[in-house]
């Protein structure tokens, strides 16, 4: 099934506006990635999505709704009492998810556990782990980046949503890490590439081992850095201020118009 990223963005805005809370910016920056993952892979089945940047979960609820895996009624329960749709991903309450996350920095370790488990069980499928760029400031991320290449496994793909913003502002104002992000991750033993994170075909091609990476696959696991824009899709939301801001009625109207579809 073809999924339109702007349809997902509109659902996210509706959810956040309805409940007057939630994270739009980081959800929007990974809308195209979400479409590719759910179009091309058996997420929640043999393929796993570990959303380490758990605050972006509205985009996942949106795609699950679009695919008919959660109902209108369930979507309405986002952030409400007795709901499977928690503010951050809760696999116990929503088994369609592959991990419980929300405290930043933990997802890649969990994803590595999935990778090892699949390998021990000789199970097929790919484990995708999506991290935020701000999240890379957590030490545990580097523990896990340091560890995984030693396993020689390649059934895990690490994806960094490099949307340049975080809660308090621009990520580049926090650390110098982003000046040479690719080199830093590469130096930990990953084959790393920066790609356009808003071009579904580019994402698709780069996730496809056979297609794009077979000649340099070697022993290294893959880390894709998605060059993205926080709040992508709505002009005035393309700013770190929209990490967890709720639109006014006026902003809502403009946003929905800009997103079209």
């Amino acid at each position: 099934m073809k999924i339109n990223p702007n349809v997902l963005r509109k659902k996210v805005i509706d959810m956040v506006r309805d409940k007057q809370s939630g994270h739009i910016g980081g959800a929007f920056s990974m809308a195209e990635l979400t479409c590719v993952l759910y179009e091309d892979y058996d997420i929640g089945g043999k393929d796993k999505l570990i959303l380490s940047k758990g605050h972006a979960v509205p985009i996942i609820y949106a795609v699950l709704h679009e695919l008919g895996q959660i109902t209108d009624e369930e979507l309405d329960l986002f952030r409400e009492i007795d709901s499977p749709l928690q503010g951050h991903p809760d696999k116990e309450r929503l088994p369609l998810l592959d991990a419980t996350t929300g405290s930043l920095g933990q997802g890649l370790s969990i994803a590595i556990g999935h990778s090892l488990g699949k390998n021990l069980r000789d199970e097929k499928g790919t484990v995708f782990c999506v991290l935020g760029d701000g999240e890379l400031q957590e030490g545990q991320v580097w523990e896990s980046l340091m560890y995984y290449p030693k396993t020689k496994l390649k059934n895990l793909i690490c994806i960094v949503d490099w949307n340049k913003g975080q809660n308090d502002g621009y990520s580049k104002d926090v650390t110098i890490m982003y000046d040479n992000l690719r080199e830093r991750i590469s130096s930990f033993g990953w084959r790393t590439k920066i790609i356009d994170g808003h071009d579904m075909e580019v994402i698709r091609d780069n996730l496809d081992f056979e297609k794009d990476f077979s000649h340099l696959a070697g022993d290294k696991p893959l880390c894709l850095i998605l060059d993205t824009i926080k709040g992508k899709g709505v002009s005035f939301m393309e700013h770190p201020d929209w990490h967890c801001k709720v639109p006014t009625d006026e902003e809502y109207e403009i946003a929905m118009k800009e997103l079209g579809v």
Binding site: E92, T101, I110, G113, G117, L120, Q140, S144, Y147
Partner: protein, 315 residues
């Protein structure tokens, strides 16, 4: 005299022979925690994660999704220090993983406070879904390990193991149950000493010192399941004996003393005296000197009990 960590090192490989779903994770303390023995017997199910406890905890969470029973080991102070990782990736996620924290208590001695697990129970006890086991002796630790391997677990467990060799007290083990390991002398007991973990030998010795020198009669109860705690046993002892004490090589803030106090507050209000580390960090020294200075030697425990309840109070 054998340490509970030795039971872990000796028995986990045997359990690994029996159950092919057991996996072990090490954070560069395999020789100290004894989890390294699993590497020799089952190298395919052993992972050296390195000095990266947070990553190890996360990996255990993911691995457990594939039907594996994961044991991850480090010192109790280090592993429970990664609280938020345990909280989110294991407790809130409710993964049936066994966190093994060794080198708990002042009893490790000379390495000092940074290596001593002294608040690990308090921290783990605060987490919903977390179960806590603190065996007292080698043979009890064997039974606990068998229980953990043989039982289908539905939540994370924290297994607390000691470094120091202790007397091997034989007793039954049932999850969630306390055990009366000594029940007074000729007279029915008027004092209960609740003990947890490897200090049990000292507590039994203290009970004998008290009985040999006074008219008190002392019951000793081993609480190896700290969470969920045996409420019935605590209430029974509160009803049957006049004076209650808890003894632990751990902080009295949040440990056994707190757990027993909570049950009494809820069900049978009664004074209790908590013996343990009184909200302080101790120091590095030979264990015997630490136990003497900080009030956990058999002699100091007996002294404390008698200072609260001189024998003439009995009748």
């Amino acid at each position: 005299m054998k340490a509970t960590r030795e039971a872990f090192g000796n028995h986990l490989p045997l359990m690994g022979d029996k159950y092919d779903n057991i996996v072990a994770l090490d954070a560069d303390l395999g020789k100290a925690t004894k989890i390294a023995s699993f590497k020799e017997s089952h190298p395919d199910r052993f992972f050296q994660i390195g000095i990266a406890e947070a990553n190890m905890i996360g990996i255990s969470s993911g691995l457990s999704e594939y039907g594996y029973k994961v044991f991850l080991a480090s010192f109790g102070s280090f592993i429970t220090g990664r609280y938020d990782i345990i909280r989110c990736s294991l407790a809130y996620s409710n993964r049936p993983v066994i966190i093994v924290g060794t080198h708990v208590g002042m009893a490790i001695g000379k390495d000092g406070v940074t290596q001593m697990g002294l608040e690990d129970v308090s921290i783990m006890r605060a987490l919903p879904n977390m179960k806590i086991l603190n065996p007292a002796s080698y043979s009890e630790a064997i039974k606990v390990i068998e229980y953990l391997c043989e039982t289908k677990l539905d939540s994370p467990h924290y297994l607390r193991l000691g470094r120091q060799p202790v007397e091997d007290v034989e007793m039954p083990f049932e999850f969630g149950k306390g055990q009366i390991v000594k029940d007074g002398n000729v007279l029915s007991p008027n004092i209960t000493l609740f003990s947890t973990g490897c200090i049990l030998g000292d507590v039994i010795e203290a009970s004998k010192l008290i009985e040999n020198n006074t008219s008190h009669s002392v019951r000793v109860v081993n609480i190896s399941t700290l969470k969920p705690i045996d409420r019935d046993m605590i209430i029974k002892c509160a009803k049957e004996t006049k004076y209650l004490f808890t003894i632990e090589d751990h902080s009295i803030v949040g440990g056994l003393g707190s757990a027993v106090s909570e049950v009494l507050t809820d069900e049978y209000p009664k004074k209790i005296t908590r013996i343990g580390l009184n909200d302080i960090f101790p120091e590095s020294a030979p264990p015997v000197d630490l136990y003497e200075k900080y009030g956990l030697s058999a002699g100091q425990i007996a002294k404390k009990v008698l200072s609260e309840h001189p024998p003439h109070n009995r009748f």
